[in-house]
Amino acid sequence: EPEVTQTPSHQVTQMGQEVILRCVPISNHLYFYWYRQILGQKVEFLVSFYNNEISEKSEIFDDQFSVERPDGSNFTLKIRSTKLEDSAMYFCASRTANEQFFGPGTRLTVL
């Protein structure tokens, strides 16, 4: 069964460093998403992407964040200058019709 994959599974970085989180959505899906979950809290929407552009973004998705689909399969989230409060699990999701499918997540720890 096709699934969303994410790399790396864990990322540790120093405050102020740039990180890139990678996702490979399900191949025939057209809508892509990033969500995050701070430890012990609910999952929060960051950004959605369709037809090679951002379609919606939340207040969390400020100028430090960017997304890109550099080729036909990868979908990336970049955080330019990480802060302590960016420590969280980051999930990528994709959908074709209505149901969203989530990847296993990348646990980001900012020291």
Binding site: Q37, Q41, K42, E44, F45, E56, M89, N98, P104
Partner: protein, 109 residues
């Protein structure tokens, strides 16, 4: 934005017991999904159920969209059912999921 409330926040069950988890939402929705977050943090799709009733093995779900709630039933619970159950909705005019705060289920042998 839309509000999604789940109850109870925590639930402890003996193995073999049944349970009902509830999700209330504050506005009309065109998508509702239930997820199980396992101890490794993965979000596992349980149901896509904007309305009606579905069953999958020991789990079933019902959404009454006109009354703005959904229920997840777990029968004959097993220790592997432990984790956090999230309800998430897409409201009219949006395409992203809004998650509830979850129900943490612990099944003890």
């Amino acid at each position: 934005g839309i509000q999604v409330e789940q109850s109870p926040p925590d639930l402890i069950l003996q193995e073999g017991a049944n349970s009902t988890l509830r999700c209330n939402f504050s506005d009309s929705v065109n998508n509702l999904q239930w997820f199980h977050q396992n101890p490794w943090g993965q979000l596992i799709n349980l149901f896509y159920i904007p309305s009606g009733t579905k069953q999958n093995g020991r789990l079933s779900a019902t959404t009454v969209a006109t009354e703005r709630y959904s229920l997840l039933y777990i029968s004959s619970s097993q220790t592997t059912d432990s984790g956090v159950y999230f309800c998430a909705v897409v409201d009219d005019g949006a395409n992203n999921l809004f998650f509830g705060t979850g129900t943490r289920l612990t099944v003890i042998p």
